[in-house]
Amino acid sequence: MDIRDLWSEALAGMLARPVRSALTTLGTVLGITTLVITLGVAATAGNQIVGRFDELTATAITVEVPDKPDPLVTWDAHASLTRLRGVVSAVALAQTDRSSNLQVTSNTLVDPTRVTGHTLAVVATGPELPRAVHGRMTGGRFFDEGHVGRRDRVVVLGEQAARMLGVTRLANAPAVFIGDRAYTVIGILGDLRREQILSTAVIVPSTIGADFGLKNVTRVLVNTTLGAAELIAGQAPVALSPNHPDELQVIAPPSPKRARDGVQDDVNGLFLILGLVSLVVGAVGIANVTLVTVMERVAEIGLRRSLGAARRHIAAQFLLESTLIGMTGGVIGAGLGLVSVVAVSATKEWTPVLDARLALAAPVAGALVGLLAGLYPALRAAGMEPVDALR
């Protein structure tokens, strides 16, 4: 028998009752969908965790300082922190709700009718900031101890803020107005790898923060060497505020081990079992329907035998039919599963990790389910005596 004939016969058999075939695939669709979602979400979430535990994040600590009339942390915070073994860099920041919504205008715009004001955040900090946020000066320079000491009215713009204000060239010392006071722009800070929000901020020296009510430190950013984060997280409050360490809130990266265990327990185990159970149910469904089909088509089997079909031809046809049904279920399941993974990722704002091997393996798995499910019905069909089948 020509293999193409076998294919067209199996396909015709499957399409003879399209609704039944479609319903038969349901179990497999469900199983494969569940498996693809489980593995896809696990891979995506796993990737998310890997991302969170890259060197940068695994070494980043943030200390939140509650606002008190008597400042808990002083502006030389970075000095007391960098003394600790394991601290690479640190910087103190001040930002309040009020300073986050200040009207900033630039004088570089030629057209006076244009709306030139922007509501931007103003952040006061020290000269250590670029290093602590792994940033790069895309123009000009950051302020130094000199500017801070002299209380120079200078600002550094975050890259985005500079673009919004239309500040591109620093050669002729452009100015920006915060409220009605003018400040000279001396630099633009970009490529932030930490505290990316600063990209839209106007950064001022700590000593002129008072202009905007930014007197006290509200936050300290700390970067540690790899593996030191947990240790430093414990030591930082004491170093920053020896008298009131408990009042500081330390945000440290979670330990990688804990998170990974969590993912394995919650996502994988349960849903893998669910998917496999659905697949078994799907297989039983296919087996059942194929058996019914075989019984309905006894006369057809007899006819084929009388036309010279051997037992293996009959077995092959029913096996291929059930395999095709399983494969169809696998293809649909893979599609639904991948779409779901993308949807889940979208709601969680994750980057979906779509493994091409998963998309290929799913139809194969479906086909395998169909093949196994078809074994018994196919053997029953092949075992029929042509005389009985034609009676």
């Binding site: 028998m1 020509d2 016969e9 003879a16 035998r305 036309l307 010279g308 031809h313 005389v387 034609l390």
Partner: protein
């Protein structure tokens, strides 16, 4: 030249309590081009005889030579191939596949035994309606259409069987049986489901096939059918008598 069918003391006993002697020591010679009617009351063993001749059933004793080949000692696979190549069946209930078109139903006959590459195994003689050339997939539809033309069904090639009359269905089934040129056509009550007009059309068809040299065995209990054959054998309680 070998007879197409040579039965020598063929018996078929069905194991039951008591055992059923469906065929008892049957002797029968059918030459090429014979047109034989098998008549007998219900339950006399007609279908058992036909199944035996069609290699769908094995006798419990005796010898059966088909085209000179001893079939009783052949393995299942060889019997299946022999059946596929040399024997065409026509049934009372047509056995057409409902979901396939007329052409597809006819083409089905070439899918197994009578498909390409089996050159040496094929019927010795040029079968009626054989067009020469190959038996591959390529010309299959054309050959099916030719067969349908022979049985006067060219105008229904793409119909499904459900939309045909009984007589038309039987003609399609005959076209299918003729595909690939068998040396023997076995018909079990081929007109049992047909009215007299359609019966006449099928019998005319059989006459034409006989004239082309095909060997025909037709089971029937209708005199109108058996009268058209050149030879009549009667079977009763498993015992075959000539005339």
């Amino acid at each position: 030249m070998n007879p197409v069918i040579h039965l020598n003391d063929v018996s078929r006993v069905f194991p039951a309590d008591p055992p059923v002697h469906a065929l008892s020591k049957i002797r029968l010679r059918v030459e090429q081009g014979d047109y034989v009617a098998i008549v007998g009351p219900s339950g006399s063993g007609k279908s058992t005889l036909l199944n035996t001749l069609g290699l769908l059933d094995r006798p419990t004793a005796g010898s059966y030579l088909l085209d000179g080949i001893e079939t009783t000692t052949l393995k299942d696979g060889a019997r299946t191939r022999l059946r596929g190549h040399r024997i065409g069946f026509v049934y009372q209930s047509f056995h057409l596949l409902d979901h396939r078109t007329v052409a597809e139903n006819v083409m089905l006959a070439e899918m197994y035994g009578r498909s390409g590459g089996a050159g040496g195994e094929r019927a010795r003689k040029e079968p009626p309606g054989a067009t020469g050339g190959g038996y591959g997939r390529r010309g299959r539809r054309r050959r099916a259409e030719e067969m349908l033309e022979k049985v006067g069904m060219s105008h229904r090639v793409d119909f499904v069987p459900g939309r045909l009359s009984g007589g038309e269905r039987q003609r399609v089934a005959i076209a299918r049986a003729l595909m690939g040129g068998p040396s023997l056509l076995l018909c079990d009550e081929p007109t049992g489901n047909l009215d007299s007009r359609n019966t006449g059309a099928v019998l005319d068809l059989f006459d034409g096939l006989r004239d082309q040299g095909l060997t025909l065995l037709v089971i029937t209990h209708e005199d109108a059918v058996s009268a058209r054959a050149n030879r009549r054998v009667r079977i009763s309680d498993g015992i075959l008598t000539e005339g």
